[in-house]
Symmetry: C2
Subunit: 412 residues, 2 copies
């Protein structure tokens, strides 16, 4: 039996539905940052924040913040939140569930007359998803003080990111960097199938896996597909296919050892891509997620070996893999993990520890404060798609866990 | 020692160089059918045809024809030729070598006062390569009477094929179909490495392989690349990679049995092709060349088995392969093969029989008359590329073989 949770399921459901209605009508659910629909979603949220008795503002990096003052000025801020922007044709819950749960916590605190010694802030981070400017986590990078200044010059059509920040109410001339935050908690849908398959309510996140992007170019020789004997070819696609299977094999091997690991060939293009020409070149982009640095190191070494093997087997030329970006894993803070686990016990939420394979705003918040995350189950692990689904009961229970954890952190 | 060949190597070299100069200057060697450069090439050829004492005309299907009357009216026509159009950034020899060799035969016959009982015609077929109208072998299809009438409505920008035919001097209202041709011979570069590797002068073509295009669609499930465990995935790229390797294996097996066979995955596209999404769909287009129908039947059966195996191994859905086009193999006529082999012996040209893996105008001519082809070596088997190369000595020897074969056919 779950304990009396204080939070109100009808309110979280109403908020999720209200935000879902703010979408490109023929491409549900699309509410990309910096668009008029995004600003409409923000107006809804700001109104709800105010109704919860929160004082609202937009910080320099365009984050929407609702604030409730604590009883002991100077103790610092406890912060909860996530993001309300979506990918194109994304889902109703990715980011949104976390903003709504944070709002419900603030509402419950107000309704029940709960006092906190810390200030409480809830936040809708700007542009967590890859935005029209080609970059992600703009708001949380800004709050962590690590957004590269040159990003302000990035263009999306005629609009610069600098102008985009002003458009959403931010101020590029004002740093959003914070030093007063004592803890940050984020609720998010898991975006994977683990909790649903294990029939668990909550995943307490131990670390956010690193994201490494690696480009591999395979070069063969363009030949006439009709006349070139099967045995004398240098078919880049054939060599690349071997490498795809080797990468999958390595991914499975490393996933079977402790620590989250995944390796995916997400982009794959062949040249000249003509019916009657033997493929001469393949470009592939690998997405590697590693909770443990040693898994990533091991992957690099095994990938190099696999490439040598494919070169030997096929005669194709394969350039040394090029690391395009490499963000290390971010451990969540024990303070947050402990508070969240205690909250799960208190609320009766079944739970396990797990790593996040996906990147989140919490990874940037972890740079400036003890940060933690909870995952709630989502149907079939589907995400970034219109059929993404999370049960309202799980969102509400997650909000109750956040509330309980916040009360514990307030006592620290 | 090669015999006295009568033909003149300096003239073939001059023609090849002259046509190579008629190209888009910054994209050698580009002289696509229906373009101003193509018409410039045609003017050069028409001038050369006339200088060889030939009477020139353009038939209904836009083929440039040079004619020399025989001594016995009514015996019919012996025809030689190929095509002068190129693919974009194609080579100096694909098609052109055959037109120049035919011209050199006609020149030699005129110079040496050789009399033929048959009429002799040399032809530059219109648009053998895939043209701006998206279709190939327009002229030879027309001469064989098998160009689909609806093709006249095909558009390239504002131009219809009907208008294109008029532009090159053809007449869409006049059938180019012929019933008077007693034999057709075409010289072409091999476009493969076999003759060069075997150090042979000539390939006597036994058959032009069939061309079958097969579309295969592999469907998996788009999943978040970061969060979806390696073991629960339905990665369409992984399934497709297995199929690519299976197809290559089948191709090699069938190539090792008698009869030319090649199978190539020339087109390969993945969806959504996004760095952090497990690929959900792959479309591949297979190009299959079979000299023997039973090899093609066998390939279809083995492909179906390979698909079942990949489906079982991966759980991916793979639709039944869709045959987009299926042109059967075309045997060359024994009359032509025998004449060409005898000509090789007579001229001292080292030679072997071989199938053509590539399609040619001769495949359409074979529908209306005994047809034959000779291949000459080309460097490294390269074709459809600027570095395509054939030695002038080989072109000249090939022309001598054609001349000798024509004299034999004239005696039949
Ligand atoms: N949570 C989430 O989907 N983040 C997007 C970046 C990534 O992890 O691929
Ligand atoms: N000879 C030649 O390259 N023909 C083009 C059609 C083909 O065989 O792919």
């Amino acid at each position: 039996m779950k304990r009396n949770l204080l939070v109100d399921a009808s309110r979280t459901a109403a908020d999720i539905d209200a935000l879902a209605a703010i979408t490109e009508p023929d491409r549900p659910y699309t509410r990309r940052a910096f668009t008029p629909l995004f600003l409409e979603g923000r107006r809804y949220l700001e109104d709800r924040f105010r109704s919860a008795g929160l004082e609202t503002r937009i910080d320099g990096s365009g984050n929407l913040i609702g604030r409730r003052a604590g009883t002991e000025p100077g103790r610092g801020t406890l912060m909860l939140g996530s993001h309300s922007d979506t990918v194109p044709e994304g889902g109703r819950f990715d980011g949104i569930a976390g903003v709504v749960a944070a709002l419900e916590v603030a509402r419950t605190i107000a309704d029940r007359g709960i006092t906190l010694s810390h200030d409480l802030e809830i936040v809708d981070f700007l542009a967590e998803e890859v935005s029209i400017f080609g970059v992600s986590c703009i708001g949380s990078r800004g709050m962590a003080g690590v957004m590269p200044p040159e990003w302000l010059g990035r263009q999306a059509g005629d609009l610069s990111l600098e102008e985009g920040l002003v458009m959403v109410g931010g101020d590029p001339s004002v740093s959003a960097a914070r030093t007063d935050i004592r803890a940050f908690l984020e609720l998010h849908i898991e975006q994977g199938p683990v909790l649903e398959e294990a029939r668990l309510d909550i995943g307490v996140v131990t670390a956010i896996a690193g994201i490494t992007r690696i480009e591999v170019i395979v070069s063969g020789r363009a030949d006439h597909a009709g006349t070139t004997p099967m045995t004398g070819r240098l078919d880049a696609l054939s060599a690349a296919a071997r490498l795809v299977l080797a990468i999958e094999r390595l991914g499975k091997e490393l996933a079977a050892t402790p620590g989250h690991f995944a390796a995916t060939v997400g982009e794959f293009e062949i040249e000249p891509n003509a019916a009657n020409v033997v493929p001469s070149r393949v470009r592939m982009l690998l997405d590697v997620r590693a909770e443990l640095r040693e898994d990533l190191d091991c992957f690099h070494a095994l990938l190099a070996k696999a490439i040598e093997e494919v070169k030997r087997e096929t005669g194709a030329a394969i350039a040394a893999p090029k690391v395009l970006s490499d963000n290390p894993a971010t451990p969540m803070h024990s303070l947050a993990i402990n508070a969240l686990e205690a909250a799960c016990h208190a609320t009766g939420a079944s739970h396990r520890r797990m790593a996040s394979g996906a990147g989140h705003d919490a990874a940037f918040m972890a740079r400036i404060c003890p940060a933690g995350m909870v995952f709630i189950p989502c149907a079939g692990g589907r995400s970034h798609a219109p059929k993404e689904w999370a049960d309202n009961a799980d969102i509400t229970l997650g909000a109750a866990v956040l509330l309980d954890a916040i009360l514990r952190l307030d006592d620290e």
